[in-house]
């Protein structure tokens, strides 16, 4: 436990020092504030919550951005240290290999959570002060922030798995970009294409549910677009999720499985990796 905390604290400090935290927080805050006020402008006269509109637009943006940031943070966590030569010294200390992985994960997740909470939180606070928030919308916004951090955790874990498996940093970077493209862009395109081509003949609603749960980015999207009735109203696509039986609990569970499984894989792969 001690070793994990020491490594996590070191990763956090590295993140603060090399300006990862500041850059990420600033980026997320700028985007969130822009979306909040630009998105909120047309809602002024109609009686809808600005916060709900912001949740829809911000979560759509997070699907692209958060996994990318998470993968950039994590792809060289193991292979990078191995290549620079710091890993063999670290492992010569009284530290187990799984503790190194979990410690780094805790540190990187801390960085991303900090950036998300501060960056999105700034926008949320600004909107709440501007009078755009009813309690229900605030809860949905809090869920969006928390699930964004979880989505980050998923892709940090996937990044570690990649990092533990490949031989050099270049390959890790390439695979990480591939992972991002696959989960964030290609998967949805393929799914939509298949649904359109199929016209509901063979692909049942249950199958669509499974296909959504297989992709953590989709699970995140459905979670946030169906979180509250009012948000669902603006999202359009969203009603689908609720009716299809994808409950928030199931979707959050999916995200947790998507964190734990790649992380366990990374620990196992790292245990076998020669140093």
């Amino acid at each position: 436990m001690r070793s994990i905390a020491i490594i996590a604290a070191k990763e956090m400090r590295d993140g603060l020092r090399n300006r990862w935290v500041i850059a990420t927080t600033a980026l997320l805050a700028a985007l969130a504030l822009t979306l909040a006020f630009m998105g909120a402008a047309p809602t002024g006269s109609v009686k809808v919550s600005a916060l709900n509109v912001t949740i829809v637009s911000l979560s759509s943006l997070s699907i692209f951005l958060v996994p990318l940031i998470a993968l950039l943070l994590s792809y060289d966590a193991i292979v990078g240290e191995a290549e620079r030569g710091t890993l063999s010294l670290l492992l010569a200390y009284p530290v187990r290999r799984w503790q190194v992985v979990i410690g780094k994960f805790a540190g990187h997740l801390g960085i991303l959570t900090l950036a998300t909470v501060v960056g999105y939180g700034a926008a949320g606070l600004a909107l709440a002060f501007a009078g755009g928030g009813d309690p229900e919308a605030l809860a949905a916004f809090a869920l969006m922030v928390a699930s964004s951090a979880m989505l980050g955790g998923v892709f940090i874990a996937i990044g570690y798995l990649v990092s533990a498996l490949v031989r050099d940093r270049g390959a890790a970077g390439g695979v990480a970009i591939g992972v991002w493209l696959l989960f964030v862009l290609l998967y949805d395109m393929a799914l939509l294409g298949a649904l359109v081509a199929d016209r509901g003949k063979t692909i049942t609603a249950g199958a669509v549910n499974v296909l959504i749960l297989i992709n953590p980015a989709d699970a995140y999207r459905v979670l946030n677009l169906t979180a509250s009735q009012s948000v669902g109203g603006y999202a359009g696509v969203a009603g689908l999720g609720v009716r299809a039986g994808l409950t928030p609990g199931l979707l959050i569970g999916t995200l947790i499985v998507w964190i734990v499984a790649p992380l366990a894989g990374a620990v196992a792969a790292f245990a076998r990796r020669p140093v």
């Binding site: 001690r2 070793s3 020491i6 490594i7 070191k10 400090r13 590295d14 020092r17 090399n18 620079r84 030569g85 710091t86 063999s88 010294l89 670290l90 492992l91 010569a92 200390y93 009284p94 530290v95 187990r96 020669p274 140093v275």
Partner: protein, 301 residues
């Protein structure tokens, strides 16, 4: 009899088809400073990593302080082992003091003792600077400082003196002598043999993964069969050597006035007593470690 610190029995380790360490037996004792010698790729680093438990042997057993270093309850896990990797790599964004504090915490050592350690390796002035700005020698010194954390019983130093200037090198060996005096076992690998002369108790020579020699320097010299040579200057000498028959038999002319005799160790005194008064710059040349090493690389006796 001093305690066995590290024991290797019939240890082999391969990487793919490459046999990095092959059937090595080695015992390292407390209070001993051992030089591990071999060219690049001879298996020195692999041996050290086996002793650290970073690698598991394909055959044979490794015991360090009585435990299997790759097991979870190993000596390494108790923080009794210090390690300085070859070309030590540290985290460039941390300062020297932060680096040492990080490693001290991992070893469960109080950070309060770090300042003394930084002082000892002579980088107090740079302790608050980032490691990324350090020179090679400074990184090496910081690397040594982390290896010394927690008064280790076992110190494994992989090419510790590369990149150190001669003054620093002397200082480095002073620190090692002090540690050895406290009963630590120090193993240091190198391919610069000459500098080990007088610094180590024992030399282990590796060649292509095999241990080809193990002993103190005089034992190794006897094993290698390289004889001492007497060398001297004779002003107007060459003629004497060339013409003078019996007294100079066995002597060879190296340059105009430099002559040399190769003889057995027990013949040295006799040879010296027979020298003429005109001899100048008399010296006895014993095989350097480099020559010994070359002899063992060729697979000498």
């Amino acid at each position: 009899m001093s305690e066995d610190i590290a024991v290797l029995r019939g240890v082999s380790r391969r990487f793919g088809r490459q046999l990095a360490v092959s059937d090595v037996d080695l015992t390292l004792r407390a209070g001993e400073c051992v030089g591990l010698v071999g060219h690049n790729g001879a298996g020195k680093t692999t041996m050290i990593k086996l002793m650290l438990g970073l690698l598991r042997p394909n055959a044979g057993t490794v015991r360090v302080l009585g435990d299997d270093p790759a097991a979870s309850a190993s000596a390494r896990d108790r923080g009794r082992v210090g390690y300085l990797p070859e070309n030590v790599a540290l985290y460039p964004s941390m300062t020297g003091a932060e680096t040492l504090a990080f490693y001290a915490r991992l070893k469960g050592e109080p950070v309060s003792r770090n300042a003394a350690l930084i002082e000892k390796v002579g980088i107090s002035g740079a302790a608050r600077r980032r490691v990324g700005t350090y020179s090679k020698g400074m990184r090496q010194r910081l690397g040594l400082a982390q290896a010394l954390l927690g008064e280790p019983r076992v110190l494994l130093l992989d090419e510790p003196t590369t990149g150190l200037d001669p003054a620093l090198r002397q200082h480095f060996y002073e620190i090692l002598r002090e540690l050895r005096g406290q009963g630590a076992m120090v193993l240091l690998s190198t391919h610069a043999l000459a500098e080990l002369e007088g610094q180590v108790d024992r030399v282990v020579v590796m060649n292509q993964g095999r241990k080809v020699a193990d002993g103190d320097l005089s034992t190794l010299r006897a094993l290698a069969g390289i004889r001492p040579r007497i060398r001297l200057r004779l002003p107007r000498g060459p003629r004497a050597v060339v013409n003078g028959p019996d007294a100079w038999s066995g002597w060879t002319r190296l340059t105009d006035d430099l002559v040399e005799l190769s003889c057995e160790e027990d013949e040295v005194a006799t040879a010296l007593s027979g020298l003429p008064a005109s001899a100048r710059d008399v010296e006895i040349v014993r095989p350097s470690l480099d020559e010994l090493y070359a002899a063992f690389q060729k697979g000498a006796p």
